[in-house]
C-alpha cells in the first residue's frame, strides 16, 4: 500500500512539475490581446485620429528633432529620419548592449543615448517625454513581427523565464498560472490575455494615459500582492525580455489601446 501511495505521489509531483514548466503556448495559438477586445476598443486602436496614443507619437516626433544636452544634438542628428532608421528596432528590444554587458529595454536605450551622446540628464521612467520618444520609435515598427536575438542573453532570458514561472506574493501566484494556463477565461469579468507585450507603450483606458510595459508589470505584481520591482530593475528587464521572446512572431501594434 505504502509503495503504491508513494508511486502515486511521485506521479502527481511529476505531473505538477511538467504542467508548471511545459505549458508554453505553441506558436500557432499565440494571440495578441487585441483579439479579446470589444469592437469599439479595436476601432479606437485602428484609427489614428481616434487613438489617444497618437498624441504621444506626435510629441515624440517633435522631441526626435529637438536638440538636447550639452552636446547640443538631436536624435535626428545621428539617426536621421526615424521612419527609416527606427523601422523594426522596437521589435527586437530588449537587446544586448555590449558596453553594459546586459540587455537594455527601449526606454533604457533612449536614456543611454541621452546621457552618453547628447550629454543630457536621463529622462524619468513614465515621464511624458520618455513615453513620447519610446512611442515614436516603437511606432515605426508597427506591423513588424517581434524577433529577439537571444543568443547573447541566454542567462537573462532564463532569469526572466524563472520569474514568469515563480509563485510570488501573498496570493502565491505565478504569471504563468494566468497567462499560460488560463488565457481566454475570465478574471473578475475581464478576459485573461496571453500576456504578449505587442503594443507598448500603450494607452490603457484604465490609466487614461500612455504607460510602459514596466508599469503594467508592476500593476500585475501589485495585483498578486507581491512587491513590485523598481522601474529599471534588472528583474523587470529580464521579464520584459522573456515576454518579448515568448511573443516572437506576433506583430507590433504600438501605440496599442487596451481596456
Amino acid at each position: 500500500m505504502i509503495w503504491r501511495a508513494l508511486l502515486l505521489l511521485g506521479a502527481v509531483l511529476a505531473g505538477a512539475a511538467s504542467s508548471a514548466f511545459g505549458a508554453e503556448i505553441p506558436s500557432g495559438e499565440r494571440r495578441s490581446a487585441y483579439d479579446l477586445m470589444s469592437r469599439e476598443t479595436k476601432a479606437m486602436q485602428d484609427d489614428d485620429t481616434a487613438n489617444p496614443g497618437t498624441f504621444s507619437v506626435l510629441d515624440g516626433e517633435a522631441l526626435w528633432s529637438a536638440k538636447a544636452g550639452t552636446a547640443d544634438k538631436a536624435c535626428a542628428d545621428c539617426h536621421g529620419d526615424a521612419r527609416a532608421s527606427m523601422k523594426g528596432v522596437a521589435a527586437r528590444y530588449p537587446a544586448f548592449d555590449p558596453a553594459h554587458r546586459r540587455p537594455l529595454d527601449l526606454e533604457q536605450r533612449i536614456n543611454v543615448c541621452r546621457t552618453e551622446q547628447q550629454k543630457a540628464p536621463a529622462l524619468a521612467h513614465e515621464s511624458k517625454e520618455l513615453l513620447a520618444l519610446t512611442a515614436y520609435v516603437a511606432r515605426q515598427s508597427r506591423g513588424i513581427p517581434i524577433s529577439i536575438a537571444a543568443d547573447r542573453m541566454v542567462e537573462f532570458l532564463d532569469a526572466g523565464r524563472s520569474l514568469f514561472y515563480r509563485r510570488q506574493g501573498q496570493l502565491n501566484l505565478a504569471c504563468s498560472q494566468c497567462h499560460d494556463d488560463n488565457w481566454g477565461k475570465s478574471l473578475a469579468g475581464n478576459a485573461i490575455p496571453q500576456g504578449h507585450p505587442t503594443g507598448y507603450p500603450l494607452y490603457r483606458l484604465e490609466w487614461q494615459t500612455l504607460g510602459s510595459l514596466q508599469r503594467r508589470l508592476r500593476n500585475c505584481m501589485t495585483g498578486m500582492r507581491a512587491e513590485p520591482y523598481a522601474y529599471g530593475a534588472p528583474e523587470n528587464v529580464a521579464l520584459e525580455l522573456y515576454l518579448m521572446w515568448r511573443a516572437r512572431g506576433l506583430a507590433m501594434e504600438t501605440p496599442a489601446v487596451r481596456p
Binding site: M44, P52, F55, Q208
Partner: protein, 106 residues
C-alpha cells in the same frame, strides 16, 4: 499645448450624412481626487465644445467631471455646401483650443 485631431471627409456628395470625429488631449482632472500627500487636486476639465459649419453652430456639448481624459467626440451632419468646419473647446483655467477642417461638397 493642447493637441487636437480632427477626422472629416475631404469630399462629400450634397445631402450626404458625414461622420465627424474629434479627439483632444486633455487630462480632464475631476477635482475629486487627492494627491499622494493628501492635497485635493483642483478640477481641470473641458466644459464646452462647439462645432460650427460656415459660421453656423451644428453641434455643441457640455462636458462634466465624470468624463474620461482625452475626450473623443463624434457626431454626424448633412453636407450642404463646401466650406469650413470650426471646432472650439473651452474649459477651466482659461483653457481654449480651436481647430478647423475644410469639406468640399460636390
Amino acid at each position: 499645448m493642447a493637441r487636437a485631431l480632427i477626422n472629416v471627409p475631404a469630399k462629400a456628395k450634397r445631402g450626404e450624412v458625414v461622420a465627424i470625429k474629434t479627439l483632444i488631449s486633455h487630462v480632464m482632472e475631476s477635482g475629486f481626487r487627492y494627491s499622494n500627500t493628501g492635497q485635493l487636486i483642483p478640477r481641470n476639465i473641458i466644459t464646452w465644445f462647439q462645432c460650427t459649419y460656415n459660421g453656423e453652430e451644428i453641434f455643441s456639448a457640455e462636458l462634466h467631471a465624470a468624463m474620461a481624459a482625452n475626450p473623443f467626440i463624434t457626431f454626424h451632419t448633412v453636407a450642404t455646401e463646401s466650406g469650413k468646419l470650426e471646432f472650439t473647446w473651452t474649459g477651466d483655467n482659461g483653457f481654449s483650443a480651436t481647430e478647423s477642417a475644410t469639406i468640399t461638397v460636390e
